[in-house]
């Protein structure tokens, strides 16, 4: 099955919740909707499901226009952040409920329920009520209920957000298996870039109701098409440096250096350089590097890594360093930037240069 969104937009009371979205999703794929809160992830999912009608545009399934078709007539399942289960039914009956509604006979229902329970590792818990289960088990029940009816489109709206971070890790490991075994179109909304990278599949980054980029997750990560996408897809947030290129020189803040590498190939003008926190170094690396003196604001130590918050030219940077580096707040630190890892954005925030993966190795 193919789900296509053609120029979909949704206006609510003068506000654009979704603006001009074009997406095509194929069966057996996982698409991650990545963006901060209120960027339109839930609104977009509701439009895909048929819970809301778009103000403009069309929703097509296998080429047929289903824009006006309500959700009950579409083959959709949805899993929410809050573990939504029928509290007075057992886990077995919860999972069986969509089948009962569709009027399948007892044997088929039983077989399907057991298959789903097996997939979600709930077989020993089938007799319990949802409120007797832990958060992770309740969410597994909701997931099982979503996949049991074999819906063609399964939407997951930040399903792991209410779980403990370790539980989240565990469930996240099980999800890819789930995705490949059921063969439906999966759409997964999240605010965390790490989650997107762990799940793989394709990612659509959202910014203020628009899809800024759509492609294989690693591709979007490695080659963000504009500054917003780069920023959304970075945790800790990407560091930016405003530079002016002119006459073979680069001016960054108050320092002027000769232009080298990628930067030397840029036309004169103003640009924003983006680089990820783990590409800032305290010690001069072997490859050519640009040295900058920044002010240490605060250091956070996680036991194996250090996050150093720096202030440079009015911008706040975060450096992710291996090992323990307890820098004194207020002191000046010399940091080295690796130009081989720079993302260059022009004044319209579009990407003009990105690190070459082969070169960086």
């Amino acid at each position: 099955m193919t789900l296509e969104l053609r120029k979909i937009s949704k206006q609510v009371g003068g506000e654009t919740h979704i603006g001009d979205v074009d997406l095509t999703l194929a069966s057996g794929t996982l698409t991650i909707l990545l963006g901060p809160t209120l960027s339109g992830k839930t609104s977009l999912m509701r439009l895909m499901a048929g819970l809301d009608r778009p103000t403009a545009g069309q929703v097509l399934i296998d080429g047929t226009d289903v824009t006006g078709v309500p959700v009950q007539k579409r083959s959709v399942a949805m899993v929410y952040q809050q573990f939504i289960n029928y509290p007075n039914l057992t886990v077995y009956e919860n999972i069986a409920s969509p089948m009962r509604v569709a009027g399948l006979n007892r044997q088929e229902t039983d077989a399907a329920v057991r298959r789903a329970a097996d997939l979600m590792r709930l077989t020993s818990l089938l007799d319990r009520k949802p409120l007797e289960l832990s958060g992770g088990q309740q969410q597994r029940t909701a997931l099982a209920r979503a996949i049991v009816k074999g819906a063609d489109l399964v939407l997951l709206d930040e399903p792991l957000a209410n779980l403990d971070y370790k539980l989240r890790e565990e469930l996240r490991e099980e999800l890819p298996r789930l995705f490949s075994e059921t063969g439906a179109i999966f759409v997964y909304a999240t605010t965390e870039p790490t989650e997107a990278l762990l799940l793989g599949g394709n990612t659509a980054t959202l910014h203020e109701g628009r899809v800024t980029q759509f492609g294989a997750t690693l591709d979007v990560y490695r080659r963000p098409v504009d500054r917003n996408t780069a920023d959304v897809f970075s945790d800790p947030p990407m560091n930016f440096l405003a530079i002016t290129v002119g006459g073979g020189q680069v001016t960054a803040g108050e320092q002027t250096l000769p232009a080298t590498g990628q930067i030397a190939e840029l036309a004169d003008g103003r640009y924003a350089i983006g680089f990820r926190p783990n590409h800032l170094h305290l010690a001069r690396p072997e490859l050519p590097a640009i040295a900058v003196t920044a002010n240490v604001a605060v250091t956070e130590i996680t036991g194996s890594e250090s996050f150093v918050h720096l202030d440079f030219d009015g911008q706040r940077w975060i450096a992710l360093l291996h090992g323990i580096h307890d820098l004194e707040p207020g002191s000046a630190a010399e940091v080295f930037l690796d130009p081989g890892r720079f993302y260059v954005f022009n004044e319209d925030d579009a990407l003009v240069a990105a690190p070459d993966p082969a070169e960086a190795a």
């Binding site: 009950q72 579409r74 083959s75 089948m99 509604v101 569709a102 399948l104 009816k149 074999g150 819906a151």
Partner: protein, 288 residues
């Protein structure tokens, strides 16, 4: 698996449709019909247009009844809403007493309305009623069958006794939905009871209170049975509220035309005031 769309369901709705049509739509049409016609009996009708409407709108009797009605509704709203909220605040939020309190609060709402009227009719009698006897015993000169003031007092007291519970239950539901963390934060901020009420409980109850006020407004504006059984509209016409007046005209005098016109005007007044009230509260909620 797609769910099938069953059009056969529409047939199940037909009996209800018929019932509603018979009980509501057709009588309403009849009223509209009567309101624009005149009859002298013998089933001969003359079309009169807006004559009845004009007559009703200019009649002093109608103005008086409308004024009485507004006074009544205003008074009971001013008493029942604060009283209901205060009682809800004192009810326990957890423990074994919760169900007991809820049942006690629900009791007055379960009594048939004419029985409520009858109870208070006897309860307030100056010679054999407990209330009447006590008040007279305390030195007040109380006789609701002869004194308009006493009649109003009794009517309002009866309504408060009957309907405050509704406000209590609604306000209680609103209070229960406030997360504990707010109370905890208030404790930590050394907030007084009054501050907790004003800054946490009242704002969070706003939605629920709006419903309570709307319900009480509509019901009290249309009230008939209880005051009719209590005072019959008397003494004289001092407690003749709009609905009572309407019935007197329609069934007492058999003036179908004016009565029908009055019904429609009555209905439109309730509709207008409810709409105004609702829009005002919804708008203030949007702004906040």
């Amino acid at each position: 698996m797609n769910k099938t769309w069953n059009n056969g369901a529409w047939f199940m709705v037909l009996p209800v449709l018929a019932l509603v049509a018979f009980n509501a739509v057709i009588p309403l049409m009849t009223v509209v019909n009567y309101s624009v016609q005149e009859t002298f009996g013998n089933n001969i009708f003359f079309f009169e247009g807006v004559k009845w409407f004009e007559e009703v709108l200019h009649s002093e009797r109608f103005h008086a009844a409308l004024l009485r009605q507004l006074a009544f509704t205003g008074t009971i709203l001013l008493i029942e809403i604060p009283l209901g909220v205060m009682i809800a605040l004192t009810m326990p939020r957890q423990g074994p007493w919760v169900s007991v309190c809820l049942v006690l609060m629900a009791l007055p709402l379960l009594i048939p309305w004419n029985v409520v009227g009858a109870i208070w009719n006897i309860f307030a009698l100056p010679d054999i009623g407990l209330l009447g006897r006590s008040l007279n015993g305390m030195g007040f000169d109380y006789n609701y069958t002869h004194q308009p003031v006493a009649a109003w007092f009794t009517m309002i007291l009866m309504d408060v006794w009957h309907w405050t519970s509704l406000v209590v239950l609604l306000a209680y539901a609103g209070l229960r939905s406030i997360p504990d963390a707010y109370y905890q934060a208030a404790k930590i901020d050394s907030a007084s009871r009054w501050a907790v009420f004003r800054y946490i409980q009242l704002p969070k109850m706003k939605r629920v209170l709006t419903i309570a006020v709307l319900l009480r407004f509509m019901d009290s504006f249309m009230i008939y049975t209880e005051p009719f059984v209590l005072t019959g509209g008397g003494p004289g016409n001092s407690t003749t509220l709009l609905s009572i007046d309407l019935v007197k005209i329609a069934l007492g005098q058999f003036d179908l035309g004016p009565a029908a016109a009055m019904s429609i005007i009555y209905f439109l007044i309730v509709l207008l005031l409810s709409w105004v009230f609702y829009t005002l509260t919804m708008r203030s909620e949007d702004q906040s």
